[in-house]
Structures are given as structure tokens and as C-alpha cells.
């Protein structure tokens, strides 16, 4: 059985990637899962500088989901390269670095620095984080901003680049198109949905940043729809995510059009989920006599069943 997939020039041994912000810098999980066994690891979003992020409370559970506003606490790109990358390299992890800036120049600078580092497989451009004040999602909510960030980064790196799209837009497919036109190798979607939970007893928001990003199974049906829409709109591969909690969910995204998937929140619920995902996909391939998992990508059958009719 062949579980390998391609995301542009990036060959992955399987389609399961750890989602950014949900797997630390990868090294935190080295005890729990063989990092080499993963299709890839999207590390926690990095800025140029170190950041302390928002005060606690930073998360709150919601129905079948969670809201977070971490505020991109992080060690900055240089410490990442010196303190984390060597171990990731030693463990033969496929490292996708998720980068975030407040200006186009910052993205460019990050891309330059990381292109020179050894052991970076691809760059995921986080233009969709709902939890910071400037940059990030403001690019991701504007077609022009998306195009500008992607094309500027394209000019300075030979690494595969995957802009990560926000679902907080009217027409996500147009953003996938803008990314494709600007030279992206693939698009990742979805980042979290901007959301809010209020404690009615205190009438205060449950997280310190007032609003945060919603992830987890709750959002899965919306994310699947968005992957499906983007699949019609662009030729570049799609990395799909949002609420994947088991192999069935991963397959659903692939059938909708994702060449690979990422798993975030579910890793919090079950850090031993990875071999279960691989096993579940293998079972499915066996049951359906599918030799190459790449063959199911985008195969959803939406032939209309005579849809609307009027009584006579």
C-alpha cells in the first residue's frame, strides 16, 4: 500500500501532518511519537523576534471544539534554528516552518533566514492567525495582501511555500486563486474561526484576548466545504485541516480535495493518535482495494440527484 503523497515538489511518506501550534516545536513530542513516522510537522508559528503572547486564560473548551488565543508566544526564528532544528533534523522529521509577520518585509526576512537553514522542508505562511493585532489575518482577509505576501516570499526562496488561508472570508476560493497566481506551491486551510465565549456569571470573556480562534471537530463540516470549493478553483495541491479526529475524518478531507491533511486539536485529546491514523487509512485502503492513497484525492462524487422540483 502506498501512502505517499506529493505537495508540489515536496514528497511526503504519508499525508498526515502535525498542525502548527498544536505540536509545539515537534521536540516536545519526541517521547510520544516517532517524529520520522509523520508525513510532516508544521511547527508552532514563528515571528522574527521572541514573543510572550497573551496572558492566561488562553483557551476555553466549546461544544466539540476549543477557542484559543495564545498570541503566538514563541522563541523567534533564530533561537528556533539553533535550539530546535538540530534535534528535528537528527530525528529525521520533515519540518514545515509556519511563519508570521506584521509586514510583508518580515515574511520576506523570515523566508530568507529559513531558506539558509538546514532541515527546513517547506514554509507555511501564516496569514490567518486571528489572535494578533497587526499583520497575520489582515493579509489573509485581503486578496491583495495575500497576493503581496506570497509573491514577495516567492522571490526570495526556493522552498515550497504554502500560504495558510483563513476561513473568515466570504469566498475562500478566491484567496486560493490569489495564492496560486502569486506562485504558491500549495495552500493550507483552514486556520481557526474567529469566535468568542462569555462567562455569563462575570460577563467577561473566557479568554484574556476577548476573541480567539475556534478549532476542533465543531468546524470540520465548514472546513471540508472550503477544501471542496478550493479544489474546484485551483490546480495547486491543498493541505486540508479543521477538526480531524480520526482516519475517517482525514479521508473525508482527501476525498473533498486535500492532497494531505493536518491534525491539530485532536493531538491534544490523544497524543498517541498518529499510528491510529495511519492504521485507519491502511484499513480503509484494504477494504476499498485502493493501492495509492493519492488516488482518492478530490474524488467526491457530487453528481446531482435531481435536486429541486416543484409540485404539479
Amino acid at each position: 500500500m502506498d501512502l505517499s503523497v506529493r505537495i508540489g515538489s515536496l514528497a511526503l511518506k504519508n499525508p498526515i501532518i502535525a498542525a502548527s501550534g498544536c505540536f509545539g516545536y515537534g521536540v516536545e513530542y519526541a517521547d510520544v511519537v516517532d517524529l520520522e513516522s509523520l508525513g510532516g510537522i508544521a511547527v508552532k508559528g514563528l515571528f522574527l523576534a521572541e514573543r510572550e503572547g497573551h496572558p492566561a486564560p488562553r483557551i476555553v473548551e466549546t461544544p466539540a471544539g476549543m477557542l484559543n488565543a495564545i498570541g503566538l508566544q514563541g522563541i523567534g526564528v533564530r533561537r528556533f534554528i539553533h535550539e530546535k532544528l538540530p534535534e528535528l533534523r537528527a530525528r529525521k522529521a520533515i519540518v514545515i516552518v509556519n511563519i508570521c509577520g506584521t509586514t510583508v518585509d518580515e515574511y520576506v526576512e523570515l523566508a530568507r533566514i529559513l531558506s539558509d537553514a538546514e532541515g527546513v522542508a517547506a514554509l507555511e505562511l501564516n496569514i490567518s492567525c486571528p489572535n494578533i493585532k497587526e499583520g497575520g489575518i489582515t493579509f489573509g482577509c485581503s486578496l491583495r495582501g495575500t497576493f503581496d505576501v506570497v509573491s514577495a516570499v516567492r522571490k526570495v526562496t526556493g522552498l515550497p511555500i504554502l500560504p495558510k488561508l483563513t476561513p473568515n472570508v466570504t469566498d475562500v476560493a478566491s484567496f486560493a486563486r490569489a495564492a496560486e497566481e502569486a506562485g504558491a506551491d500549495a495552500v493550507s486551510l483552514v486556520n481557526t474561526f474567529l469566535a468568542m465565549v462569555i462567562d455569563v456569571e462575570t460577563r467577561r470573556p473566557k479568554i484574556s484576548n476577548v476573541v480567539g480562534g475556534l478549532s476542533g471537530p465543531a468546524i470540520r463540516p465548514i472546513a471540508v466545504r472550503m477544501v471542496y470549493e478550493c479544489r474546484q478553483a485551483v490546480k495547486i495541491p491543498i493541505v486540508g485541516m479543521g477538526g480531524i479526529a480520526n482516519a475517517r475524518d482525514a479521508l473525508e478531507f482527501m476525498i473533498a480535495g486535500a492532497a494531505a491533511v493536518q491534525v491539530g486539536t485532536a493531538n491534544f485529546v490523544d497524543p498517541f493518535i498518529w499510528p491510529k491514523l495511519f492504521g485507519g487509512i491502511r484499513d480503509y485502503m484494504q477494504r476499498h482495494q485502493i493501492a495509492r492513497i493519492a488516488d482518492i484525492v478530490g474524488t467526491v462524487d457530487t453528481r446531482a440527484r435531481d435536486n429541486e422540483w416543484i409540485s404539479s
Binding site: 501550534g21 510520544v32 510572550e52 492566561a56 473548551e61 490523544d270 497524543p271
Partner: protein, 270 residues
């Protein structure tokens, strides 16, 4: 390396309408757990609740020959998961990941150990008291609760030779008021030369008071902090505590891996 056990519920002992002790079969976790460590528990099947919740290892259960067979949790119900744990039936299986986090540093004699517990914050002190006893450390438990009926396992601690200093908010047992009051009195009375390690676990306000009081008397204080935790493994950055570093700077540390036991004098209390 943490273990994820599909732990069978062996027994569920209700202590009150809010508190219970849940015994779980989890030999590998029990064998590895050190005082102050915790487990991440998934209550209920399916997505409601979605995330695991952190619980201190309360007791390490052992068979006749002393081999570890499981752990128990001291649970106080305050929401959906703790409610499910309160109602769990023997035979059920509950996913339990651990042991996790940095344990207490156990002192040696002649240093005395003073444990300060507020409510369900008693949980990590049963195993700590055993470890202290094994080292022959003289121990005191300052333990406060809302009322007499919510002061649990007193005989257990007495049996280990732990001196008990009890307080209740309603005065129904021990001194009326907060548990930090007798702690402070005792600190004031103690000779500055006699070494004491303070351990604290309980609500944030109590921890802040205990840590501040300890610092005022120049005593070290290990506090076990309580944050909402998404993962327990350092992956989500939800559980941060604001701390001072050596140079007056502030930073956020992940209490699930740098803690839950942290040096009280470095924490910035809000």
C-alpha cells in the same frame, strides 16, 4: 515517557455531594508517578467533553506485595468532566495519560516540610507525605476547607505522623478562617535557623498568599499551580504562568512541563 492507559475504574468512593475518590487500574502510571505529578484524563466518550483535564495523582494503589496497581484521583466536581468522574461506575474505562509534569523536590531531614493545602489542593500531598515519611522528614499539613465535612483523609495523614493544622471557613473544625493565617503565625514563631520547605497547592489566591508569606520570611516555597490545560505535554501553550527571570524580565512558562510545581518566589501573581 508518558503512558496512555485505558484505565478501568476499580472503585468510586463518594466523600460528599461534591467530592469523590476514583480508583483506576493503571500499573505503569502508578509505578512511574512521583509526588506532585499529574495525569490528563478524558472523561466520557465522544466529543463532549472534548479535551482531557488535569488531575493530580492522589494515591498510588498497591497490591498485597506492594507492587503498584493503579492510582486514585481526589475529584471535586465543578463542571462537565469532574461531574462525569464523580459519577463514573466500576468497570468503565477512562483514558488516563501520565505521569506528567515536574514533581515536588522532596527535602531531606533535618529540613522540615510544611504542606499547605486548600480544598481539593490536598490531592498531591498524600504521596508527598509518604515520600517525606520514607525519608524521615518531620511534616506538617496546613489544610483549609469550607467546612469540617470537606476536610478529608485526616486519619491517613495522622497515620503517617503528619502534624495537622486545620482551618475551616465556617469554623466547624479547627481555626475559623484561611489556612495561610496559621502558616504565617508558625513562620513568625519558627527560628530562622531551622530549615523549612513549604509546599502549597490550592486556589490561586491561597497560593499567592502562601508564596508571598514564605518569601517574606525568606523561606523557599514550591507551589503547584493550576491552569486550564489543553494538552499537558507542552504542545499548546495554554497553561502559561508569568514568571520573573533572573534579570528582572518576565516570561511565560508552560506549567505542564516546567511545572505544575514551580518556585513560588518567581511567579508573578496577578
Amino acid at each position: 515517557m508518558p503512558i496512555d492507559a485505558a484505565a478501568e475504574v476499580i472503585a468510586n468512593h463518594p466523600l460528599s455531594t461534591d467530592y469523590n475518590v476514583l480508583a483506576l487500574a493503571a500499573p505503569a502510571i502508578a509505578a512511574a508517578a512521583a509526588p506532585g505529578q499529574f495525569v490528563m484524563v478524558k472523561a466520557g466518550a465522544g466529543h463532549d467533553p472534548l479535551l482531557r483535564r488535569p488531575f493530580s495523582v492522589f494515591e498510588v494503589l498497591r497490591d498485597e506485595r506492594g507492587a503498584p496497581t493503579g492510582i486514585s484521583l481526589l475529584n471535586k466536581r465543578i463542571g462537565v468532566s469532574t461531574d462525569l468522574i464523580y459519577k463514573a461506575q466500576p468497570g468503565e474505562r477512562i483514558a488516563c495519560l501520565g505521569p506528567l509534569g515536574r514533581p515536588f523536590t522532596v527535602v531531606d531531614s533535618p529540613t522540615e516540610a510544611w504542606m499547605v493545602a486548600g480544598g481539593v489542593g490536598l490531592a498531591p500531598f498524600a504521596t508527598l507525605a509518604e515520600a517525606l515519611r520514607a525519608r524521615g522528614v518531620r511534616s506538617t499539613l496546613f489544610y483549609g476547607a469550607r467546612r469540617a465535612q470537606e476536610l478529608f483523609h485526616l486519619d491517613f495523614f495522622r497515620g503517617l505522623g503528619v502534624e495537622l493544622v486545620l482551618t475551616t471557613e465556617d469554623g466547624s473544625l479547627g481555626e475559623r478562617g484561611r489556612v495561610v493565617t496559621p502558616l504565617e503565625r508558625r513562620l513568625a514563631a519558627q527560628s530562622a535557623a531551622a530549615p523549612v520547605m513549604i509546599y502549597a497547592c490550592g486556589p490561586e489566591g491561597m497560593l499567592a498568599a502562601a508564596a508571598t508569606t514564605a518569601a517574606r520570611f525568606d523561606r523557599p516555597c514550591q507551589v503547584s499551580v493550576e491552569r486550564i490545560m489543553g494538552c499537558g505535554l507542552g504542545g499548546c501553550y495554554s497553561c502559561v504562568v508569568r514568571m520573573r527571570n533572573g534579570h528582572g524580565g518576565l516570561h511565560h512558562v508552560r506549567s505542564c512541563i516546567a511545572g505544575p510545581v514551580l518556585p513560588g518566589n518567581q511567579i508573578v501573581w496577578d
